[in-house]
């Protein structure tokens, strides 16, 4: 013990092991309380039909226009979001208001944004673009600001006095960070494609629209073709999505936007939405000075809090916790597949293809399919979240594993894995997981729309019953919960002293990173 103390006099508290045990214990408790019942009698028969659909993919059934719409929404949505984020990033570090705004924007999932925007803009390109742009602005602003902050100011300090703000920014600051910003933004576009696909599930004319129909009606050949096309779209991102092609893509996207069928009365809808629909029922046209109004507001709010927010938050946290630990186990099992040291020269590229495919599949879609196969319980949601996220974290860990410098006489195989690689990567591993925590939580809330009783379940009910005031309360609760977990995760990362380890998926690694 004293030897260990000498080696690391400032051992973090609580340590890696303690924190891992705590997370595992909470997940285990949640697992015992969770509903994991498999109610479908023939999941294997259905799964076989599904796989057969992939083998005999029905490519002619894929509507080219829906592919174009998917790319167009993603390019314009992320473009608009990233553009606004760039402006928000400048005051981000100094302004609490801007930080709060960004935290709020990104704590509401794009699917919830879309559900709210549809009320005003209908099923239209505007809804699709804004639903992507709003949360992405919040995410990108935070990351851009971090990238700018991390950078050293040497160039800025030696500028002659009297240099204008624009010149200072463009000549002294931007060149240093441009590479990272570009890298991150292009990665975000890939996420944008996934988000856009999912927006199709609620009716926007992207590939997700056809994918949902195909899965729902068991036309697996068509579903398989759509998914394969989507994988190719993501897999070839580096070929068609480059800084040089961006202007062309942006213009083409504008031209490719779907014409809205029908013309929603946006002005009137917006006025009704803000002035009536989302105003709590007891406050509509009520006298604010009357104490009775506030009493009625409380009588209205209390059952929402006790019967919907309370159980919804509990289920959401349970699902997120189980999924987080399952992700951790999955990532530890998967990362050797993409590490050259473990998988070898031939295994590594195959492992990469596998994990990139897994991470390109949106978790909402995975959950949807798992639900069709296994029946309604928390199990499909857990599987979907952990498969998708284990793919992401495993992929990143594999790259780190190859960056480690091993002794020439290092052990091999399981010994190397258990006694050297995993211990040396463990801090990095926790950093990624704590970072994904908030993201998994946001997704857990959303999966309620598929029938697990997380917050999304109650939001879906409120929207079905046209009780938008209730829906807004629930979405606000979701946002608060996400922000709280985000803060907790940051505090934990700081106390574990892993706050400075890379957590961004896109950050170029060291010289040997080979991105």
């Amino acid at each position: 013990m004293s030897g260990l103390g000498r080696l690391s006099p400032h051992a973090p508290f609580p340590g890696y092991a303690a924190i891992s045990r705590w997370f595992a214990a909470v997940a285990l408790a949640a697992l015992l309380a969770a509903d994991l019942h498999v109610s479908s009698l023939q999941p294997w028969a259905e799964l076989r039909r599904l796989l057969a659909g992939f083998v005999q993919a029905d490519f002619p059934s894929v509507e080219a226009l829906s592919v174009a719409h998917t790319v167009a929404f993603a390019v314009l949505g992320v473009g608009l979001g990233a553009g606004s984020a760039f402006l928000l990033a400048i005051p981000f570090a100094r302004s609490r208001t801007v930080r709060g705004l960004c935290a709020f924007l990104r704590s509401v999932h794009e699917l919830f944004w879309a559900l709210l925007l549809i009320q005003v803009f209908g099923l239209s390109a505007t809804t699709g673009i804004l639903a992507i742009a709003l949360p992405y602005a919040g995410i990108c602003a935070k990351v851009y600001s971090e990238i700018i902050e991390e950078n050293d100011l040497a160039a800025l300090r030696v500028l002659p006095p009297g240099t204008g703000g624009a010149s200072a920014f463009f000549y002294a600051r931007l060149p240093d960070v441009a590479d990272k910003l570009r890298h991150y933004t292009l990665y975000r576009l890939e996420c944008g494609l996934r988000s856009t696909l999912v927006l199709g599930f609620i009716g926007l004319p992207t590939m997700g629209f056809h994918l949902e129909s195909a899965f729902r009606q068991g036309r697996y050949g068509e579903a398989g073709a759509l998914l394969l096309v989507f994988y190719v779209l993501i897999g070839t991102r580096r070929l068609w999505l480059r800084p040089l092609t961006l202007p062309f893509l942006a213009v083409a996207s504008l031209m490719a936007l779907p014409a809205t069928i029908g013309s929603p009365a946006i002005g009137a809808s917006l006025a009704r939405f803000l002035g009536h629909d989302i105003v709590p029922v007891p406050l509509r046209g009520a006298a604010f000075s009357d104490p009775d109004t506030w009493l009625r507001l409380w009588t209205w709010l209390r059952p929402i809090l006790t019967e919907q927010v309370g159980p919804g938050v509990l289920q959401t946290l349970m699902l997120a916790q189980i999924a987080l630990v399952a992700t951790a186990l999955g990532a530890l099992a998967l990362f050797p597949l993409v590490s050259r040291r473990f998988a070898g020269r031939i295994g590594q590229p195959l492992g990469r293809i596998l994990l990139v495919t897994v991470r390109s599949t949106p978790e909402y879609m995975l959950a949807y399919v798992a639900l069709l196969l296994l029946g309604p319980s928390m199990l499909p949601a857990i599987l979907a979240l952990s498969i998708h996220n284990a793919g992401i974290v495993g992929f990143l860990l594999g790259r780190h594993a190859d960056d480690l410098a091993y002794r020439p006489d290092a052990p091999r195989g399981l010994n190397l894995y258990a006694y050297e690689t995993v211990p040396r990567l463990y801090g990095q591993f926790l950093a990624y997981l704590l970072y994904r925590w908030e993201i998994i939580l946001r997704e857990s809330a959303i999966l309620g729309m598929l029938g697990v009783a997380t917050l999304g379940f109650y939001i879906d009910a409120a929207i079905s019953e046209l009780r938008l005031d209730v829906a807004v309360v629930l979405i606000a609760a979701t946002a608060l919960m996400t922000m709280a977990i985000d803060a907790l995760s940051r505090a934990l990362r700081r106390s574990l002293r892993i706050a400075d380890l890379p957590t961004r998926l896109s950050r170029p690694l060291g010289p040997s990173g080979g991105t």
């Binding site: 019942h37 479908s40 608009l80 209908g122 200072a168 809808s269």
Partner: protein
């Protein structure tokens, strides 16, 4: 120091950003305003292909009868249909009984104009997986208590509202969550049949016309699922039109539209609806549903 330098830049960038936002949204909006056709939708209550088939035929029929371009816009769920109607994206919709009530309450001036001949006396079937051992009966089958149960969409009249009403009548003082071991919402009637047939749920509530259509299409496996109860009748589906169509498409448009719908005789259109013909109807026909919706808490 950096602050002061960045300020003019920020204003300029902000202006540029607003210009871009306006262009993007402007183009999106302009594309919408090109041709204002008469647009309608329907609640997605069953197999999407059947919906596309029947509403496609209705669109071309109405276009010929009314002399305006008519378009059908597909939606993914019931509330999306209601929202498209209330925000004016569509002018006409084929609603279920309850979604129609929702839409007419939210969009003032909207009214029900026609229903299927079968819709005045609509029914719900309770269906059960054979494995449960439940058999068909005249009386409400109280033995379903404790089983797993799936409704259709959350705001379906025949798949949720009315079956919930009958369940609450049969088990006074209890909600479906208390009566059954698990309650699900399948999303549509075709899916309800699949779920009960596969055994994912023991019992389900389904629209009788969809049951008949699916049976005719050979998609129902009689050795796995059967009807165990037929509900009393209630009013259901109807065409509801917005109140502002006469000002947009000319005086008397609503009357012409109603007449066109009622005059549909082509079995090619009526068959995929599971209806023999359409008849005129008024809002008042759906008043009983309002009372039921209030008692089950779906409506304030």
């Amino acid at each position: 120091m950096i602050d002061a330098r960045l300020r003019p830049l920020r204003t300029r960038l902000l202006t540029a950003l607003f210009a871009v936002v306006q262009t993007v949204l402007g183009i999106a909006a302009a594309r919408a305003a090109d041709h204002p056709p008469f647009v309608f939708t329907g609640i997605p209550d069953q197999d999407e292909r059947r919906l596309v088939e029947r509403f496609g035929k209705v669109a071309s029929y109405l276009e010929a009868k009314l002399g305006v371009p008519v378009r059908y816009i597909p939606v993914k769920n019931y509330p999306a249909a209601v929202t498209a109607f209330t925000n004016g994206q569509v002018q006409l919709a084929w609603f279920g009984g309850f979604t129609g009530v929702q839409a007419r309450r939210a969009a003032s001036g909207a009214r029900a104009i026609a229903q299927g001949a079968e819709d005045a006396t609509f029914k719900t079937y309770l269906i059960a997986n054979i494995r449960t051992g439940l058999v068909s009966s005249k009386e409400f089958p109280k033995a379903i208590a404790g089983k797993t149960f799936t409704f259709g969409a959350r705001t379906s009249t025949s798949g949720r509202l009315m079956p919930e009403h009958f369940i609450r009548q049969a088990f006074p003082g209890q909600t479906p969550d208390q009566v059954f071991s698990r309650v699900g919402y399948s999303g549509d009637h075709s899916r309800t049949i699949q779920l009960v047939q596969s055994g994912a749920f023991d019992v389900g509530a389904v629209d009788y016309t969809v049951w008949d259509l699916e049976t005719k299409a050979g998609k129902v496996d009689a050795s796995a699922v059967s009807v165990i109860w037929e509900s009393p009748t209630y009013p259901d589906y109807q065409w509801t039109v917005r109140g502002d169509v006469d000002t947009v498409y000319g005086a008397g448009f609503t009357e012409r539209l109603t007449a066109a719908l009622v005059a549909i005789e082509d079995p090619a259109i009526l068959e995929p609806f599971g209806r023999s013909k359409f008849v005129p109807v008024t809002d008042a026909a759906y008043d009983p549903l309002i009372a039921v919706a209030k008692s089950t808490g779906l409506l304030d």
